[in-house]
């Protein structure tokens, strides 16, 4: 076990894929000469050369679409989009093309491609650079969406994403690139579509993913110190969404709180809650508590941004307002 930052974990996953499969190549804006906006691909150009480490023009729709074509043509592209907010510019290719082409062609064409993109608020980049569109993408059939909350998951999920024969979007919480966690030297993968029960408990279930796991873990620590037995679930994957694991937990603890650092309205937690109430309503002691960031464009000012962003205080307040704990 070595403690490494999520940035390093991702880099390890990309490096071994480049090493092992000549059909893997990476493209994106400033991933080569510059080394990547978040330094994940730093040094790759020197190691693998310009054929496999392709700097692109600032044309997200074109190079994401070119990745789809390259995948259809037998390669395994890994694409970096500099911010998931910029993925909007490429939504036509991601949704209309990548997610639909297999079905429309009656299964003739697959798109084995990974799109990596930093996501989330909290670093004062204001409205156009702080959004979390992994929740939008999770609604689209024909593709997968994962979002790691730590270095271990980032490497395991990335390995699975690269091996997957479908488009997998890896949403990387920008605030976590420097966060460190233990990662074993031995090879492992993490199955896409399975949630992780990171802490077992019997009184209450807290569910989140990505950066949201930070306030959730902090809240769980506090509640545990007060004698509350908390179960914590990291979704890991937004599509496929592992409803079963959450339903099982809700049937055990009878109290469910879902937390998203993306905006509250219309997010993946709304979907999760709808599923849970259909399948486990009679097991619940009360309404599921849904906590999400404020429904405003992300502000630049630090205090305003922190007020909008879900933190441990909001999680604790949600738990205490919802349940007699």
């Amino acid at each position: 076990m070595t403690e490494i930052a999520m940035r390093e974990a991702l880099k390890r996953g990309l490096d071994e894929a480049l090493e092992n499969d000549p059909n893997v190549f990476i493209m994106g804006e400033d991933i080569g000469e510059y080394g990547g906006a978040y330094s994940v691909t730093d040094g790759f150009l020197k190691k693998y050369g310009p054929k496999r480490i392709k700097d692109t023009p600032i044309s997200e729709n074109a190079f994401v679409g070119a990745g789809i074509g390259a995948a259809a043509g037998g390669l395994r592209p890994i694409i970096e989009i500099m911010s998931i907010s910029f993925s909007l510019v490429a939504f036509d290719q991601i949704v209309n093309m990548a997610a639909n082409i297999r079905y429309m062609s009656g299964g003739q064409i697959s798109v084995p491609m990974v799109v990596r993109a930093p996501t989330g608020a909290g670093v004062q980049l204001a409205a156009t650079h702080s959004q979390s569109f992994e929740t939008w993408l999770a609604e689209v059939p024909g593709m997968k969406v994962v979002c790691p909350s730590n270095s271990y998951d980032a490497l395991g999920l990335l390995r699975s994403a690269i091996k997957d024969d479908n488009l997998v979007v890896v949403a990387e919480p920008a605030l976590l690139y420097g966060a460190r966690a233990d990662v074993p030297e031995d090879y492992y993968e993490i199955e896409i579509g399975k949630a992780d029960v990171t802490r077992e408990g019997s009184d209450l279930t807290l569910v989140s993913y990505g950066y949201g796991m930070r306030p959730v873990n902090d809240a769980a620590d506090k509640l545990s110190a007060e004698g509350v037995s908390v179960e914590v679930i990291d979704l890991r994957s937004l599509s496929p969404l592992d409803v079963d694991t959450v339903v099982n937990s809700a049937q055990k603890t009878n109290k469910l709180v879902v937390v998203d650092t993306a905006r509250r309205t219309g997010g993946i937690m709304a979907e999760l809650v709808a599923e849970v109430q259909e399948r486990a309503m009679e097991w619940l002691d009360g309404p599921v508590v849904r906590i999400g960031s404020t429904d405003v464009p992300w502000p630049y000012n630090r205090d305003l941004e922190q007020t909008a962003l879900v933190g441990v205080e909001e999680v604790l307040a949600g738990v205490r307002n919802g349940f007699d704990l």
């Binding site: 692109t56 679409g65 390259a70 062609s105 009656g106 299964g107």
Partner: protein, 351 residues
């Protein structure tokens, strides 16, 4: 690059332009390797497309084909001429007016018609329909219905061909309507920067749905001159002359295989029918349509074959009868095919 644009244009097609801009004549050297059978096959393909489209219209009226139906009538020479210059290893990517390209590539006529009928025997098991024909085994990579959305896909297929060090290439068909999408400009630039083996083939039929080019485009109704911006050699060709299209494509393809990077062909063509089957064509006068119909590519080519001594009336009639039988059989096949099994709803979503 302006000079290369010019030189290619000059050599690509012997299309002469009169002062009023109408193509007046064209000819292709018949001393080449093309034999009589191949000449006749071009006729067969064009007539097959025409009759297939007529049958589609009839079956749309009967309610057997639903959704949107965009017919290729009038444009047959562009797809047939261009695709006849390709090899098996080359990819084809096209727009939603895709029946012509599919048939020119040799996709199964029965399965094509069955796809339009939404049947389980269709190319995509009835999941794609008219606008989304695919046959990956023939490297026919769709039928795409977001205007200009197919261009990035084509660039990527070409990127794969370049990466794998093949001498295959990708041909991307698109219409004049595509040219005002940002993606069009993005992809032209990307392909040029990466020297991709891709042929951009513009089928300029003068109207993006109901919008005449001059109503929606600054800079005139010719697109090929703008390719100097991207450093992409470009040619203009008479899209009603199948041999001129074939020759222009052969030249462009040769350059691409020689590693010269992306090439661009603009074929001036015209659809004799509405944008889709439901189009009443309020946006244009029938006089203009009648005028273009005088240059029906199938009639022009039949006359030329006879002039060249490659065929006589009887040969032409024989082909027409054979084609009619093939199309009739495809309609029968489609009618008699079963609907996709209900389980197909859930297959092919993920690999």
């Amino acid at each position: 690059m302006a000079s290369s644009t010019k030189s290619i244009k000059k050599s690509a097609a012997k299309t002469k332009r009169s002062k009023n801009g109408k193509s007046t004549s064209s000819s292709t050297d018949d001393s080449g390797a093309v034999g009589a059978a191949e000449y006749l096959d071009l006729y067969r393909q064009m007539f097959l497309i025409r009759q297939f489209e007529v049958a589609c219209g009839e079956n749309y009226s009967k309610g057997h084909i639903r959704g949107f139906l965009h017919l290729y009538i009038g444009q047959e020479a562009t797809g047939v001429g261009a695709i006849s210059a390709l090899q098996e290893q080359d990819y084809i990517v096209t727009h939603y007016r895709d029946h012509g390209h599919a048939l020119a590539r040799g996709l199964d006529v029965n399965r094509s018609m069955a796809e339009l009928f939404g049947k389980g025997t269709g190319l995509s098991k009835g999941k794609g329909g008219s606008m989304h024909l695919f046959d990956a085994a023939k490297r026919f990579m769709g039928g795409h219905a977001i205007v200009a959305g197919q261009l990035p896909l084509a660039a990527g297929l070409a990127l794969a061909q370049q990466y794998q060090d093949t001498d295959g290439l990708t041909v991307c068909f698109f219409g004049d309507g595509s040219t005002n999408q940002g993606t069009y400009h993005e992809v032209l630039n990307l392909a040029a920067v990466w020297n991709l083996p891709v042929l951009f083939f513009l089928e300029n039929n003068m109207y993006g749905m109901g919008s005449a080019i001059d109503r929606v485009r600054a800079g005139g109704t010719d697109f090929y001159p703008a390719m100097s911006t991207y450093g992409i050699p470009a040619a203009e060709v008479d899209g009603m002359d199948v041999l001129a299209v074939k020759e222009a494509t052969e030249l462009a393809v040769k350059k691409i295989r020689a590693g010269e990077g992306p090439q661009f062909i603009e074929a001036k063509t015209f659809r004799f029918v509405g944008h889709s089957y439901a189009d009443g064509q309020k946006y244009r006068g029938q006089e203009e349509v009648r005028e273009w119909e005088q240059r029906d590519p199938i009639n022009l080519y039949a006359e030329k074959l006879i002039q060249m001594g490659m065929a006589n009336d009887a040969d032409i009639q024989k082909i027409r009868a054979e084609v009619d039988a093939v199309v009739a059989e495809s309609v029968e096949f489609a009618e008699n095919s079963p609907n996709p099994d209900e389980s197909e709803l859930f297959t092919d979503v993920l690999a």
